[in-house]
């Protein structure tokens, strides 16, 4: 067995451990010491790179499980990256998948680390022409992201509704000469933020601000769009409208319901 280590260039809290060759029972002590040294240096997140590993003995696997436990006690974690099909199968037979998360590549492991352990939001920006026909695709795209990131079906449906109403409104009441509208999505484990920017005629923008920010839960009878926006108010946690010469920006925040 050969092990080399390096601190991740992307995040100094993460240590990359490159394992190579056969991981035998006789390597347990050396492995334990390496982990202890890393923990002593106050680094608690380890990515075990196993692309070049040819064999893992069960005592060594047990040692790795113990090492992971020591990391978890410190608020950290250890994940496994790059297993080939055969080794992955063997580790699953030994129950390792109940203890470790397996990732196909380092990049995916980093992404999960950031999602789970930092509050950094992931950002998606969409630019589209002001066509009502493109809104269904946009709303399904954003709801699909929410689902993919682990939000419940109910949350995702509500997010779809919010995107639909706000994007339709931006197009219907936008300046007809505007070349595009932009939709920005910021998502993390706990909340979802939507920003829709467009160029809106001033009187329409002020109407929107009134409907969204005024202290009323329902719109006037016969006001279709107002009814939709009232619905958005009910299913989101905060709404903010800002208007200036460059255009209108609507910002909606929705907390994840199971967070």
């Amino acid at each position: 067995m050969r092990i080399s280590q390096q601190v991740s260039a992307h995040d100094e809290r993460i240590v990359l451990l490159h394992f190579e060759g056969d991981l035998n029972a006789s390597d347990c002590d050396a492995t334990s010491k390496i982990f202890q040294d890393i923990i002593d240096s106050r680094k608690y997140f380890i990515v075990a790179l196993m692309e070049n590993v040819t064999f893992v003995s069960s005592p060594l696997l047990g040692e790795l499980m113990g090492c992971k436990l020591r990391l978890v006690e410190k608020g950290g974690n250890m994940v496994v990256v790059g297993l080939n099909y055969d080794l992955r199968e063997r580790l699953i037979q030994m129950g390792a998948d109940k203890i470790f998360q397996f990732y196909p590549d380092t990049h995916t492991a980093y992404n999960h680390y950031h999602w789970e352990y930092t509050q950094t939001a992931q950002v998606v920006n969409i630019t589209l022409p002001p066509k009502l026909q493109s809104v269904p695709a946009v709303r399904r795209f954003i709801a699909g992201i929410a689902k993919q990131k682990g939000y419940t079906s109910r949350d995702s449906f509500r997010i779809e509704t919010i995107v639909d109403e706000i994007a339709n409104n931006a197009i219907e009441h936008g300046d007809t000469s505007q070349p595009e509208i932009t939709v920005e999505l910021r998502i993390d484990r706990k909340k979802f933020e939507l920003l829709v920017r467009n160029k809106t005629l001033m009187d329409k923008a002020n109407q929107l601000k009134y409907v969204l920010e005024a202290n009323k839960e329902t719109a006037q009878t016969g006001d279709t769009r107002g009814r939709g926006l009232a619905l958005v108010k009910l299913i989101s946690n905060s709404i903010n409208v800002s208007i200036d010469k460059s255009g209108t920006e609507v910002k909606i925040t929705k907390m994840r319901e199971d967070s």
Binding site: Y85, K147, Q148
Partner: protein, 121 residues
Amino acid sequence: MDTQIELQISDLDNVPHGKLIKFMGDLDATNVESTLDQVTKLIKEGFVQIVADFRNLRYVNSTGLGILLHFSKTAKEKSGCFKIANVNDNVYEIIEIIGANTLLDIYDNVEEAIVSLQARR
């Protein structure tokens, strides 16, 4: 998250060591690992005569095709086979582009695939 694929596994009547796997959804880079684990487990348990029903498999990409070829190879190594049925035109086109149609056993429907399995006995 791998929310876009579901595998329904059932016995194949009159085929020893046989299983029918219904693939439903999209097979891609986000769910190949979980698909791999489920099918590999079956093969390890000795179910090496497998028919994969793709009637409800809407989509497959190159990563997904990679594991289909792996299943076929693994089953053959264990004197079994991994047969595919009900492939839609879009998915078939992708299989054909990478030349996997000559490597995978593809049938028009599940019944034909099962008959071919029974003929092997």
